[in-house]
């Protein structure tokens, strides 16, 4: 069974608030924990947990599942030509931005401002391609259309990461085992320590810098992700991983997609521009950088805000649908914002809804959100949402907090 810990018992004004799910640590394999000091902590946490059990009800999982299923069925029945037209419109906008961007980059010699607009336009195109189109289409949200190009099998995106590699790690591991420590490698990406579930190491001291680097290089991080976890290059492979592709194949795909991206962005397109080689080269570089920062920030805000909980593998054995929903709901956080903001995040600003209903077209999350929030409230579950700056600050705090033991 999954247990919750209310954060009420912890001083809200301190970063300690972000200690998550101590109960899990207790129940989880204690081999992960340091002995000694932690043992004391455990005792104190246990007591706080015991108090909590009295005051806090565990949700009625069956009811939770029924209610959320109802929300899903209701929206599913509405999906149709509107959604098809929408995704086509977004693709159209993406093409528009991409070409405007690529052409303006070359006109930078007339007026540098044109170059700046070009970079922004190209970055927007890449963001649309990666988030609202790529991410969502590859989730299978539009597979019902039976379209030859707009479906999760055919789509490939403008990013260094091979689409099917991402599909394996993201759609399978991350969405199935969301925030289960040891199973969802997206939690901290194996680079950052974001909860007490992981033993503190010295390298965590400078993990804020690691985080900044990861954001800057985000597309390469995502791309390398599967290989890192499969220990393709270094380290020992963990036994509990069943891998579907050989290391050689993973390597081949990593390099082929990665190299293609590099050649395209930094050789071919600049060469096509002839005398404007440098304009295009730097333009692509900056556009990729902007895209990396944006996507990584949105994704961190969706998963690593202070209140997001983690779970242990033992808890999720024989999980029911209701428990699964519960875990998905508490493992994510939303960001408030306007219409355009949501589109640019690929509606991942509705991360909670996305994790509950990963294959509903993302533009529908907005109308589902109030219902989901009401259901969460009824079950006493925390619906983690806030403005961009509040959520982002919370992420940064978390990264800093867990830099220290």
């Amino acid at each position: 069974m999954i247990t919750t810990i209310s954060t009420n018992t912890v001083n809200k004004s301190t970063v300690n608030k972000s200690i998550v799910n101590e109960g899990q640590v207790l129940k989880g394999s204690s081999s992960r924990l340091n002995s000694g000091k932690n043992a004391n902590e455990q005792t104190s946490q246990r007591s706080s947990k015991d108090i909590d059990v009295g005051t806090k009800k565990t949700p009625d999982y069956t009811k939770l599942a029924t209610q959320l299923d109802a929300v899903k069925t209701d929206v599913k029945s509405k999906i149709g030509s509107e959604d098809a037209a929408y995704i086509r419109r977004v693709i159209l906008a993406q093409r528009g931005c991409e070409w405007t961007g690529r052409i303006l980059l070359m006109l930078g010699f007339i007026q540098p401002l044109l170059w700046v607009v070009g970079v922004l336009s190209l970055a927007t195109a890449k963001i649309l391609d990666n988030m609202e189109i790529g991410h969502n289409v590859m989730h299978g949200q539009y597979d019902w259309m039976n379209d030859k190009h707009i479906n999760s099998k055919a789509y490939e995106w403008d990013i260094a990461c091979d689409g099917s590699s991402w599909n394996r790690v993201h759609n399978y591991e991350h969405h199935t085992y969301t925030n289960i420590i040891g199973k969802d490698r997206d939690f901290g990406y194996g680079l950052l320590r974001l909860s007490n579930d992981f033993r503190w190491r010295v390298k965590n001291l400078w993990q804020f810098i690691t985080y900044v680097m990861l954001s800057v290089m985000f597309q390469w991080g995502v791309s390398y992700h599967e290989m890192a976890a499969e220990r393709v290059f270094f380290g020992k492979k963990k036994d509990n991983r069943k891998n579907q592709l050989s290391h050689a194949e993973l390597k081949r795909r990593f390099f082929s997609k990665g190299a293609r991206q590099l050649v395209k962005d930094y050789v071919l397109f600049p060469l096509l521009a002839g005398p404007f080689f440098l304009y295009v080269f730097t333009g692509n570089l900056v556009a990729n950088l902007l895209r990396n920062l944006w996507t990584s920030t949105i994704i961190f805000c969706g998963h690593f805000t202070g209140d997001v909980q983690t779970f242990s593998a033992e808890d999720c054995v024989d999980e029911t649908q209701g428990q699964w929903y519960y875990r998905q709901g508490l493992g994510s956080s939303n960001i408030k914002g306007g219409k355009l903001f949501h589109v640019l995040t690929g509606h991942l600003s509705f991360q909670i809804e996305h994790h509950l209903f990963p294959d509903i077209p993302a533009r529908r999350y907005k109308e589902m959100a109030p219902q989901v929030q009401a259901i969460f409230k009824e079950h006493g579950m925390h619906y983690n949402t806030g403005g961009f700056f509040k959520q982002y600050a919370s992420v940064l705090k978390r990264i800093v907090r867990y830099s220290f033991p």
Binding site: R88, M145, N146, H149, E156, W157, N171, Y172, Q244, V263
Partner: protein
């Protein structure tokens, strides 16, 4: 050249084809523009009887020429979703050449996927705006066509044109219900055939349908008037008995059958039971009559045949397809096993599956399914 352009699309725009990259842009101007499909304008829609609709289409110029008897896949967008169905072209080459048209005869089922679209189209025709509507079609396919070679044994290799009239084997067409369509197309061709031999080849049509539900009877009468070598009977199985006795007097002919599975089985049986010294030969096109899935099929255990990447195995309706493919040691990719990750996705060419989560039944046509949450409800054809 095309390969080069597509290579460029892959390198610069990470799309498999250039046309695919631009598709949505082209669709702004021409909504039915679709990479990999032909377009056809809807010329007219009319009802033939209570359950049958006639659709006249004008395919775009580059659509390849068809031979009478062939079929096409018709793809239309119904509420955002592309629905594809296969229909025989119920018209010959001549009307394509003269008027640029082909015709489809479509049986409308009460809750068929095309039905809402067709009825919307019907009401549009009433307001005269149908000519602005376009649909997507495939190239013509299939080889259920009039035999070209002379059919008497000794003449297997020589062509019909050179054969003496008495050496030509007569043709018997056996049609069931809407299975009349390929024959209508062939009959149109008979009158405009290139040689006397082709025109004077005796053709007899046995047309089975429910009482008063024979389609296109006026056209049949017209062909009979124009061509003295053509005869036909409109039959009703309850009244006129089975196929066997009708065929007894045609054992020297080439049989062609098009209709539901039951009709085909009967004809094939008759053919198999003929004495060996017989001259009858058989060609067929039977509707892989999509078995209608009924609610009760879910309860009792049943077995279906599954063709997976070309090789076939038997599956039941109790376990998911993923489990059964794994048990059979088929190479399948999968992840969560619970319908979340879409790793197990593959293309279902035809057949019906049940979604184990909702109990909902799928469509018959080609679509993507998730193996881990699908059970067989009919025979299936899958392609990973």
């Amino acid at each position: 050249m095309k390969a080069l352009i597509n290579k460029a699309a892959a390198v610069f725009f990470h799309h498999a084809t250039w046309a695919g990259y631009w598709e949505t842009v082209f669709q702004m101007v021409n909504p039915s523009w679709r990479d990999g499909y032909y377009q056809a304008r809807v010329k007219s829609v009319s009802t033939l009887n209570a359950t049958t609709v006639q659709l006249v289409l004008s395919p775009q110029k580059r659509w390849p020429k068809h031979t009478a008897g062939q079929h096409i896949a018709l793809t239309i967008e119904v509420n955002g979703k592309l629905v594809t169905r296969v229909f025989t072209i119920a018209s010959g080459q001549k009307s394509r050449q003269d008027e640029g048209n082909i015709r489809l005869v479509i049986r409308v089922k009460k809750d068929g996927a095309l039905t809402p679209y067709l009825s919307a189209l019907l009401s549009k025709t009433a307001s005269k705006s149908a000519s602005k509507v376009s649909v997507n079609i495939s190239a013509p396919m299939g080889n259920f066509v009039m035999p070209k070679a002379a059919l008497l044994d000794k003449l297997e290799t020589s062509s019909l044109e050179q054969a003496a009239p008495e050496q030509i084997k007569p043709i018997v067409m056996i049609a069931g219900g809407s299975g009349i369509t390929p024959f209508i197309a062939m009959l149109e061709g008979l009158n405009s055939a290139s040689s006397d031999n082709l025109q004077s080849r005796p053709v007899h049509l046995l047309y089975f349908a429910k009482e008063n539900e024979h389609l296109l009877t006026q056209e049949l009468a017209e062909y009979k008037r124009l061509n003295t070598y053509f005869t036909y009977e409109l039959l009703c199985r309850q009244k006129d008995g089975g196929v066997e006795q009708r065929l007894a007097s045609h054992t020297d002919s080439h049989w062609m059958v098009c209709g539901p599975q039951s009709l085909y089985d009967e004809v094939a049986n008759t053919h198999a039971n003929l004495p060996p010294a017989n001259d009858a030969s058989l060609d067929s096109e039977h509707f892989a009559a999509f078995p209608v899935a009924t609610a009760q099929t879910s309860g009792e255990k049943a077995f279906f045949s599954l063709s997976h990447n070309g090789s076939s195995l038997s599956v039941d309706n109790q376990q998911t397809l993923l489990t059964q493919l794994q048990q059979a040691n088929r190479p399948v990719t999968y992840g969560c096993g619970m319908g979340i990750c879409h790793q197990c996705q593959c293309v279902k060419k035809r057949g019906v599956v049940r979604d184990t989560r909702t109990g909902a039944l799928s469509d018959n046509a080609e679509q993507l399914i998730q193996l881990c949450v699908s059970q067989a409800v009919t025979d299936l054809e899958l392609q990973a």
